[in-house]
């Protein structure tokens, strides 16, 4: 009997305390150092989170008594990592050819996705694309929290074009843009026909009016009838015939709409870059456009990518590339393409070497190697945080620790580029969604 009473009291107390915290919704992280990502490191530093947003960053801040405090004085706080391209855990077949309307939304079972592995590696957001070749869909950015209510952050982010062989590249590009052109023409034709009909209807109406005036009241009733029947014939506004959804994003590109998605081109050999240019320049509408400048390069495979480094730098390209050593063909010599690109002024976005849980876990270690070979530490960290966030159009929400941005943060047991560094806690919108201590 007594025990029951005590539990009652305990339960009451517990309920009250959670209510109190929830009411304030203020969380404070006391970290050993805070790497803001804007070039500042505050150590020790504190970050105040309210309503899932960062409200204050500083040192020895005054903290309300009832705030929830995360003590991490021996840890480093930084912005959560952003994965700019992945197809992990998707179900369904690979897409090939032209399928720009394909997304991952019907290709995953949310409950069965291994979100933990993303969080363990520190990724708070990821851009998912369906696996495949050619124009194999569009990217969708999602939160990686296991139980997110609004998982989708942004749809229709970019159009991946994956090049496997140059012959199929030319085929795919001509197939895609010829198709898109036909769709445009189809709509144009329909509009012309509609315009024609409208004009005819107008003329008919005018003639009817004239007749009306000539004939006087006698036939008024008949004319009215005729008018009515004509009005019923056509719709009042032009309705475009439906386009092939697989081609709509390409139509946007051809019509140079502002909503057109950028093309992200994956190449597996340096020569493909020239082939992509040649294939794109064969599309006459794209002739006067800048050469393609967003590329995904393979990381650790043999390939003479040093041959195109200068060209990429000249284009000020955005390059998604796994940090890794490229081996010069037929030699044991290594050339560090990511470091060279970064030094040359390209926007480098790091990808895991393997699109898997272990690939994501090992990513910081390989990135540290690029720092050793000439990439600046700032660029290296940016290549996983602010650079992908900005490229994906989420620069105002995440990527750095700044006031007003969402509190997508990670706590590490050292700097991201230290050997053997581990993610200790991952937070999405101020909530700890993954904690190493819980495991």
């Amino acid at each position: 009997m007594r025990i029951i009473k005590w539990t009652w009291i305990l339960a009451l107390l517990a309920g009250v305390s959670t209510d109190l915290l929830a009411g304030d919704r203020v969380t404070v992280i006391r970290a050993g150092s805070v790497i803001t990502g804007t070039g500042e490191t505050i150590s020790p530093g504190e970050v105040v989170i309210e309503d899932g947003k960062i409200t204050l960053i500083g040192n020895q801040l005054e903290i309300p008594d009832n705030a929830k405090i995360i003590e991490a004085r021996n840890q480093t706080l930084m912005a959560g990592l952003v994965l700019s391209r992945t197809s992990q855990g998707l179900v369904g077949g690979r897409v090939s050819g032209v399928g720009c309307d394909q997304t991952v939304l019907n290709r995953w079972v949310d409950g069965e996705m291994d979100w933990e592995s993303f969080l363990e590696a520190g990724f708070v957001a990821a851009a998912f694309v369906p696996a495949g070749t050619g124009f194999h869909g569009q990217a969708v950015i999602v939160h990686t929290a296991p139980e997110a209510e609004n998982r989708i952050l942004k749809e229709s982010v970019y159009l991946p074009l994956t090049v496997t062989g140059s012959t199929s590249l030319y085929r795919t590009v001509s197939q895609a843009f010829d198709g898109a052109r036909k769709e445009i023409e189809k709509v144009k034709k329909a509009r012309e026909e509609w315009d024609k009909k409208q004009e005819e209807a107008k003329k008919a109406a005018e003639e009817a009016k004239k007749k009306e005036a000539e004939k006087g009241d006698k036939d008024k009733a008949a004319a009215e009838k005729g008018d009515k029947s004509k009005k019923d014939e056509g719709p009042k506004e032009f309705k475009a015939p439906p386009m092939n959804p697989a081609l709509v994003p390409l139509v946007d590109i051809l019509e140079e709409k502002s909503s057109a998605m950028p093309l992200v081109i994956s190449i597996s050999s340096p020569g493909s870059m020239l082939h992509v240019d040649a294939a794109m320049s064969s599309v006459k509408e794209l002739e006067d456009r800048d050469p393609a400048s967003i590329f995904v390069l393979p990381g650790a495979r043999n390939g003479a990518f040093h041959e195109v480094v200068d060209e990429l730098i000249e284009r000020k390209a955005t390059v998604m590339i796994p940090p890794g050593m490229s081996v010069l063909p037929d030699t044991y010599y290594r050339y560090h393409v990511p470091a060279a690109l970064s030094r040359g002024g390209c926007s480098v976005i790091s990808l895991p070497r393997a699109d898997s849980a272990s690939g994501m876990r090992e990513l910081p270690g390989y990135l540290a190697e690029q720092v050793r070979y000439g990439m600046s530490e700032k660029d290296a960290i940016a290549s996983l945080t602010s650079a992908p966030a900005e490229f994906l159009g989420l620069g105002d929400q995440m990527g750095t620790i700044e006031e007003g941005k969402a509190a997508h943060l990670i706590l590490l047991n050292g700097s991201l580029l230290d050997p053997g560094v581990k993610v200790m806690k991952t937070m999405i919108s101020g909530e700890v969604v993954w904690d190493r201590e819980d495991r």
């Binding site: 140059s166 040093h306 063909p329 010599y333 560090h336 000439g374």
Partner: protein, 468 residues
């Protein structure tokens, strides 16, 4: 009858007195020379039988060169020995190219137009870019503009071997590094036929097809005649001409040549007889036993694509000559057979073929010289002859005014084992520079036997990875 006999005797006397022909009844040399006299090869290049005329020591001449238009790109190669292949050799000549074409060949030192890119090649030799009859991996397949990997190391290796053009099986293509423009010279295809004695049915089918198509072609000729009189004459039906018939038609009308790989003399005889009977052009690849009876190839008007270093063991069971011979190239050439030389392996392999691949094309030709082939002919066999056979002799294969500026500059005689390509130019642009490319730049830099490798030997040039 008596009159006839008299005429014949008179003729015979005339022949014996006025020609120096040795009359040995049944003698080997006589029968051969007579058979050759009676049946001269239909296509013979008399010029090829003589040694090349000694290069006339040219008078250094001064030519006025119009001041360069600002838009024209001039390239001047000075101080080198120009081996034009088809037009003699000029010591200390000057080669002037304009917009990717050969503009002037001057047999002496002259100043180029203002603003021209000048390459001082004193002590070096200029040859037309080598043409590899066949290759794999040097250029893309099919239409190279759409399939080539422009940064393929094999392309650079090919250029380092002096090759600037090759046939990829369907097109004659240039070797260009880092660009996808101006690669294809022209499409080219050969017809393949099977007339092997191991396949009697195929043989009879081929012969039947030949007969039928020949009859059809005659019918066409008759029809053309008829049409002059009767404009409404009906043309012979040609809907049945498909498959093997189409191949045969393109052969018999001279639109294409037959390309046959055959090693043994017996096979070469069979194919040559067929080519002579139906009158089509034939090219023999391999042809290791061609030396046994080169007159057969010669009479059939055949060309030969040979690898002088290829070996075929003699068959001891046969009561006649067999197997390969170092003299193969020489004997075929002596019989008037146009020769093309390629190595046995038509790729580029870096794993120890002992140079029997395309990275050592000139050495293959040099081996034929070892067997007696004149040096000039050996050089032709890797430049102008393959260009002729591939139908691109108007563009590449020799240094001639108006041809493409595809040439190589070597640090010695082309066929010497010491010689390396110093520069390779395609379309008037440097595609390979031994010192820049660094595949071979550590070997005898500047022709010096004992010089150490350069400090910035590739890939060290890419930078010290630790210094960044």
């Amino acid at each position: 009858m008596l009159k006839n006999i008299r005429i014949i005797t008179a003729l015979l006397a005339f022949v014996i007195v006025f020609t120096d022909m040795p009359v040995i009844p049944g003698g080997y040399s006589l029968s051969e020379s007579i058979s050759e006299a009676q049946d001269p090869p239909r296509r013979r290049r008399g010029r090829r039988r003589q040694a090349p005329p000694p290069a006339p020591e040219p008078e250094p001449e001064k030519k006025e060169i119009v001041a360069a238009d600002s838009e024209d790109e001039y390239l001047v190669i000075r101080g080198a020995t120009l081996h034009t292949v088809t037009g003699g050799t000029h010591r200390n000549g000057t080669l002037i190219c304009k917009n990717g074409k050969i503009y002037q060949i001057v047999a002496g030192p002259v100043d180029g137009p203002e603003g021209a890119e000048v390459v001082d090649a004193t002590g070096h030799h200029v040859y037309p870019g080598l043409v590899a009859f066949r290759s794999s991996g040097l250029v893309g397949s099919g239409e190279a503009e759409k399939s080539q990997d422009p940064f393929d190391l094999d392309t650079t290796m090919g250029l380092a071997a002096g090759i600037t053009a090759t046939w990829n099986g369907s097109r004659v293509t240039k070797l260009v590094h880092g660009s996808l423009e101006d690669l294809t010279i022209r499409p080219k295809s050969f017809s393949s036929i099977n007339y092997s004695y191991r396949n009697p049915r195929g043989r009879s089918e081929l012969r039947r097809a030949m007969d039928r198509v020949q009859e059809h072609l005659r019918a066409l000729e008759r029809h053309a005649e008829e049409k002059k009189k009767d404009p409404e004459a009906k043309a012979p039906d040609d809907k049945w001409i498909k498959g093997i018939y189409a191949t045969v038609r393109s052969l018999l009308t001279g639109q294409s040549q037959a390309l046959v790989r055959s090693r043994s003399m017996a096979e070469i005889r069979e194919y040559s007889a067929l080519a002579r009977k139906y009158g089509f052009e034939i090219v023999f690849e391999l042809a290791e036993e061609g030396w046994i009876d080169p007159g057969v190839l010669s009479r059939a008007g055949a060309s030969a694509v040979i690898s002088p270093r290829a070996r075929v063991n003699a068959n001891e069971d046969l009561n006649r000559e067999s197997g390969s011979s170092i003299e193969n190239a020489k004997l075929l050439h002596d019989a008037g057979v146009p020769l093309v030389i390629i190595p046995q392996n038509t790729g580029i392999a870096l794993w120890g073929l002992a140079g029997r691949d395309l990275s050592h094309l000139p050495l293959e030709a040099a081996f034929a010289v070892r067997g007696g082939l004149p040096e000039q002919v050996a050089i032709e066999a890797i430049t102008i002859e393959p260009a002729r056979l591939l139908g691109v002799a108007d563009r590449v294969g020799s240094l001639e005014v108006g041809k493409d500026a595809d040439f190589i500059i070597t640090d010695g005689d082309l066929l010497s084992y010491m010689t390396l390509v110093r520069w390779a130019f395609v379309n008037g642009k440097i595609q390979y520079d031994k010192e820049e490319e660094g595949i071979l730049d550590h070997i005898r830099p500047d022709g010096d036997l004992d010089a150490p490798p350069p400090d910035d030997h590739w890939p060290r040039r890419l930078g010290d990875p630790l210094k960044g």
